[in-house]
Assembly symmetry: C2
Homo-oligomer: 255 residues x 2
Amino acid sequence: MNCILLPDTSFQNGSAYINDLTQIAHVNKVLDAKVGDTLKIGQLGGKLGSAIIKDIAPDSIELGEIKLTINPPLKLNLTVVLALPRPKVLRRLIMDMTALGVNDIILINSYRTQKSYWQSPMLDRLDEFVLEGLQQGIDTVAPRISLQKRFKPFVEDELASLITNRAIVAHPYSALSFAQYVQQQRENPELLHNSALPSMVFIGAEGGWIDYEIDLLAEQGCTAVNIGPRILRTEAAVNVILGQWLLSDAKMRLL
Amino acid sequence: MNCILLPDTSFQNGSAYINDLTQIAHVNKVLDAKVGDTLKIGQLGGKLGSAIIKDIAPDSIELGEIKLTINPPLKLNLTVVLALPRPKVLRRLIMDMTALGVNDIILINSYRTQKSYWQSPMLDRLDEFVLEGLQQGIDTVAPRISLQKRFKPFVEDELASLITNRAIVAHPYSALSFAQYVQQQRENPELLHNSALPSMVFIGAEGGWIDYEIDLLAEQGCTAVNIGPRILRTEAAVNVILGQWLLSDAKMRLL
């Protein structure tokens, strides 16, 4: 938790109140903060800044001298379509994608997604995982998350309208590598001022995509690319792939 | 477990034997394999290939028709120097760095490393985490791992001799971004045929490096670079950063 995010309703007349027990425990146990100390805070959906601790009670911490002046970092111009993973890894995946600054997350069914995953109580806790990711990545704006339980209708009827600047699907059996794809795009005179990185990436869960899914995606103009012969855990693969956007965006911001 | 790795001693007269209970449980419960089925296997330190299950007993699986003809994937030309992380995340970090193909891993002390981490029993289990990483990434060659409990003597006396093609340290407070650094290297006429990516990267654990550490590293020619304003979990940061080598290496292998 690298900042403490509070909803609009926590701010009143120049004060703010931390009532969430996880946040209170963090202030007390991890930060070991006392009355008078400064905290890094943010307003959900708003700005980042700081506040001073005025009072600490077991179920509420009062903050004053609220300064919220810093814009949250830019989002990645990226929609991630992720095959719904095992519930056990869903929390860290949502956290990481949020901390990395993904704009839109679509959790989709795939042939290799076990049906039982859609009944997992973890799916009711996405807001909580997003809050953890925002507080990790020091951001205030939640990504949009949608669930798509039917692969074919989504791909055939909705996908085309969601692709703003090309789409790729990570697939170990593709002959084209991610690096080759990016190089091709850089040399493409039709690219004009668009980024060489696409605006949408499909990432499978354990076992990846079947040929039928890759073919359906190809029909909508989605290019399959490999990330080399090594098979990574879903979490590792997501961070490796999205890292390409994060590091290229860092460059665009700072140059 | 995307392949089952066996030590030399498991191979005898054209047969091989799985005696490790974790591997036996994987064959039975995850793969649900029967006598006559084909398994993806590898010889630790040797080649990859396949074998046929000849017999399944509770404490041993016999394999025949052993074919070991495939070379393991190339390693990344990279040494990762990682501030010793919390024992809880050490397993996944070692697994991920191994699966990604890191050549050398140096676990080092840092100002923000808690002293108790060096007493963790997890440090006696590194070989086990490496095996998990190799079986995940379908590789047979373990990375070299060394422990460096003293930061200053290591940096002052040993580091220079270990840097074959430049070193960087990930540091959020550096003004230079990773992308800017790589761009500078590409434009550097002295780079000749060396990769624009350095051969060594220092990554901090929670809390990162202190200025004194960054200064000591700078004296040895190690450049500090940032990966943007977002703070990532150590695991996520490691995969984001090492992904730059993985995807560039994939390109070098395939072009």
